[in-house]
């Protein structure tokens, strides 16, 4: 592959409320067994990108833990590999990453010392499959300076939380507005870009001189007339997870056979960190319907239209409906959970009731747990 990968995994997002207090969005658990960053890492691995940098800053513990070995995504190679860059203090810099462009600027050596002609720059807060080779071919064919992967949302989806774009008939982007009050179209930027490595270095250095630090506003929007910026439309499933509702909905999409089939059955595969958990165990009294169950779960109660992440324990006479139970949650007997996201490592006492009345409720309960 003629590109390196740069994953911008630094940001927090206050729309995720309490769920990202303890982890960065790219570490959000998805579909029972995965984390958000697995999708982009798997896409890169499956596109034969061999050298990938992850730029992280906000609450990266959970993310770093997830990335503790690069072998799960097949990046454990002599050539290339997976690099995690957090901000460091140097003789001439004592700042955090002040924005996405600054994050790249502070790690410019990585870009300069690479030899691949292109860079794929992407965020890690979306669930999708994409062959970056096809994207690169398109980029070359269009003779573009920058190619932005775009997605046309359904009419009922809110475009104003994204960057919206307007393209001409040749797919060149003419208008680009970041998080507009009123969306100029329902085609949005997915935050995935292709750019020549040399050009990226120039643009980033130039921005840094002008003390501009954001990749979207200071490079994409500022240069939209000057540089040839093209859009590449992603037709298949793509879903951003960076609000509570979007996160909930994206997970629930995996209960649909077509989504499961697309991600779980069709080539190429999505990889994730391996855990050594036993198979899920269904004890007498369990009743599970239309749900995804990850390994290590022990179920004694009722689970309906829900997703149980790894190592969830469901007590006797529990009822769980339309909910997402994150990793290593203990639900005491007779608990009732409906329309909720239960934060990982939570311990819910027996006889507790949590119902999301108007929309999804995030449940964070830290009680003492006595385990065997």
């Amino acid at each position: 592959m003629r590109a390196i990968g740069i994953i911008l995994a630094g940001g927090n997002n206050n729309k995720m409320r309490a769920l990202t207090q303890r982890r960065a969005v790219p570490a959000m658990p998805i579909a029972g067994s995965y984390r958000s960053i697995d999708f982009v890492l798997s896409n890169m691995s499956n596109s034969h990108i061999q050298k990938v940098a992850v730029l992280t800053q906000y609450n990266a513990r959970s993310l770093n833990e997830h990335l503790n070995s690069s072998k799960w995504w097949d990046f454990g190679r002599k050539q290339g590999g997976l690099y995690v860059f957090t901000p460091t203090i140097t003789a001439d810099n004592g700042n955090w990453y002040r924005g996405t462009a600054d994050a790249i600027y502070q790690n410019l050596e990585f870009l300069k010392s690479s030899h691949e002609p292109y860079a794929i720059v992407t965020s890690a807060d979306a669930v999708y499959k994409l062959d970056y080779n096809k994207l690169l071919e398109y980029h070359i064919e269009k003779k573009a300076d920058i190619t932005v992967v775009c997605k046309t949302l359904r009419q009922d989806e809110d475009a104003t939380r994204f960057g919206t774009v307007k393209m001409n008939e040749d797919m060149r982007i003419e208008e680009f507005e970041e998080k507009p009050m009123i969306a100029l179209s329902n085609t949005i930027s997915t935050g995935i870009y292709v750019i020549r490595r040399r050009l990226l270095i120039d643009l980033i250095e130039h921005s840094a001189e002008e003390e501009r630090y954001d990749f979207v506003t200071d490079i994409l929007i500022r240069y939209k007339k000057l540089k040839k910026i093209y859009g590449y439309k992603i037709q298949d499933y793509w879903s951003n997870i960076s609000t509570i509702d979007a996160y909930y909905q994206t997970n629930m999409d995996f209960l649909k056979p077509e989504v499961r089939n697309y991600f779980f059955k069709q080539h190429p595969q999505i990889y994730t960190k391996m855990t050594d958990l036993p198979p899920a165990k269904y004890n007498p009294g369990s009743a599970v319907r239309n749900s995804l169950i990850a390994s290590g779960c022990i179920i004694n109660g009722t689970v309906e239209n829900s997703i149980l992440f790894k190592k969830a324990f469901v007590g006797s006479n529990c009822v769980i409906k339309n909910s997402i139970i994150l990793n290593d949650v203990y639900l005491g007997d007779n608990t009732y959970i409906e329309n909720c996201i239960v934060e990982s490592r939570g311990t819910i006492r027996a006889n507790t009731r949590h119902v999301g009345e108007n929309g999804v409720k995030v449940v964070i309960e830290k009680n003492e747990r006595y385990s065997l």
Binding site: S33, P278, P279, K281, Y282, N290, S291, S295, S371
Partner: protein, 436 residues
């Protein structure tokens, strides 16, 4: 250069205190068609594991990080499973897991003719690590054991050989190798499958040898045909007056050498609090994981008392089953008291009772297994019994077929193979692709 000379010269010698030699070459013929294409240690167990995962995990959990795996019979599955040992953290710069198949020599090439002969043929491997002790394991038992505690026992007793033993019921004792002790852990005598056992301590086939003692015995008995630990090496050491100690083990230990014991040991895992608990944090069992999505349980499925692996899709009813990863069970099917291995597809409307269905098998719609009377198997009643239906790996069962009890089916079968759409109890149907 000799080790001692190196030490005198002050050269760095990297050594391992104890290394393990894991005997994984056996066929396990009493598992019938389940082991027709793989060695017994490679047989699936408990949903996602293979039998060899248990001794390998015990090794790494006990701090034994150098393991030679001796393979011979159908090693492909075992080789791909072990790889370079990543799942067990046995990918090491020095040590780690090594697969040791028989190899050709300039003179006198031979297969591994017996357990001790296999180890003898790999003397060079062992000497690379300059061990003080060598642990001999077999790859066909389900248990958790801290070999380091056993080693401490070996050292405390100043033993030359330590044999792990466990108490068995008196009526069972005659199926085992029995050791007789002086009551203080010192072994005074042995009996191999005695008619009238003098003790209830059965050998578990786990030995720690002080390396010089084992080395001497292996070389001395190298011309012994089919040289075996239980039959030759241990009696030789005993005769030579070496100190033999019995290390008593009282935990969970199962031999899964027969279809019935294999089936029972699997079923024990689905008890509410299983005696052999895979869910505790302490002493984890590791295995090669394929990157698999979570399992999906559909709206019309019912599941009671079972364990189910990743990536499985259940649309029917499952009761008292051990279901491996990637299995699909169709709508309206009922599967009870069965072991279904990796990537098996079961169609809709099937009724399956007490079956062991091996990997990658496809079962058509409306197939019934485990019906009819309890007639014994017509060819191998010693293998296919206890009312079990055994289906070999990569088999195809056409739709609308009935299969009786104590039966074995293997290969790409078609409707014409079943007179009146029925394989009666006690029948065997093995087609090309499967072997007896």
């Amino acid at each position: 250069m000799k080790l001692l000379d190196k030490l005198k010269r002050g050269d760095d010698v990297i050594k391992k205190e104890m290394i393990a030699m894991l005997l994984a070459g056996g066929q396990g013929s009493r598992l019938g068609i389940v082991t027709s294409k793989m060695a017994k240690p490679a047989v699936a167990f408990g949903g996602k594991y293979r039998v060899i995962d248990f001794p390998l995990s015990n090794c790494i959990n006990s701090g034994v990080d150098t393991v030679g795996v001796l393979t011979q019979y159908q090693p492909l599955r075992l080789n791909t499973h072990i790889g370079i040992g990543i799942p067990w953290d046995l990918d090491r710069n020095f040590g780690g897991v090594s697969i040791l198949p028989p190899y050709e020599k300039s003179i006198h090439s031979e297969w591994y003719t017996g357990t001790a002969n296999a180890v003898y043929q790999n003397l060079e491997y062992i000497e690379t690590y300059h061990p003080d002790y060598v642990l001999i394991l077999s790859g066909d038992h389900i248990y958790k054991m801290d070999y380091e505690v056993m080693l401490d026992f070996h050292k405390e007793n100043d033993a030359d050989v330590t044999i792990a033993v466990m108490p068995v019921p008196a009526e069972e004792a005659k199926r085992f190798g029995i050791v007789i002790t002086d009551g203080h852990g010192k072994i005074v005598d042995f009996e191999e499958k005695p008619a009238k056992p003098r003790s209830n301590l059965a050998s578990m086939g786990i030995y720690i040898f002080s390396w010089p003692v084992l080395r001497e015995a292996l070389i001395r008995l190298s011309s012994q045909n089919g040289c075996d630990f239980g039959k030759h090496i241990i009696p030789y050491c005993h005769k030579k007056g070496k100190k033999l100690a019995a290390y008593e083990y009282n935990g969970y230990w199962r031999d899964v050498g027969t279809l019935n014991s294999y089936w029972k040991a699997n079923m024990e895992l689905i008890d509410i609090i299983p005696e052999f608990n895979l869910y505790e944090e302490y002493w984890k069992i590791y295995t090669k994981n394929d990157s698999l999505p979570p399992q999906y349980i559909s709206a019309e499925a019912t599941i009671g008392r079972s364990i189910i692996g990743d990536g499985a899709e259940i649309y029917g009813a499952v009761h008292n089953c051990v279901i491996s990863p990637g299995v699909i069970i169709g709508k309206g099917s009922v599967v009870r008291d069965s072991i279904v291995m990796k990537d098996v597809q079961i169609g809709g409307g099937c009724v399956i009772d007490r079956a062991i269905i091996a990997e990658n098998t496809v079962v058509g719609d409306n197939v019934t297994m485990g019906t009819g009377g309890d007639q014994p198997n017509q060819y191998r009643p010693d293998i296919y019994n206890s009312g079990l239906v055994t289906i070999g790996e990569n088999s195809v069962i056409p739709p609308n077929i009935q299969i009786g009890k104590n039966t074995a089916v293997s290969g790409d079968t078609v409707r014409a193979d079943y007179p009146n759409g029925l394989l009666e109890s006690g029948g065997v149907l093995i087609k090309a692709g499967g072997e007896e």
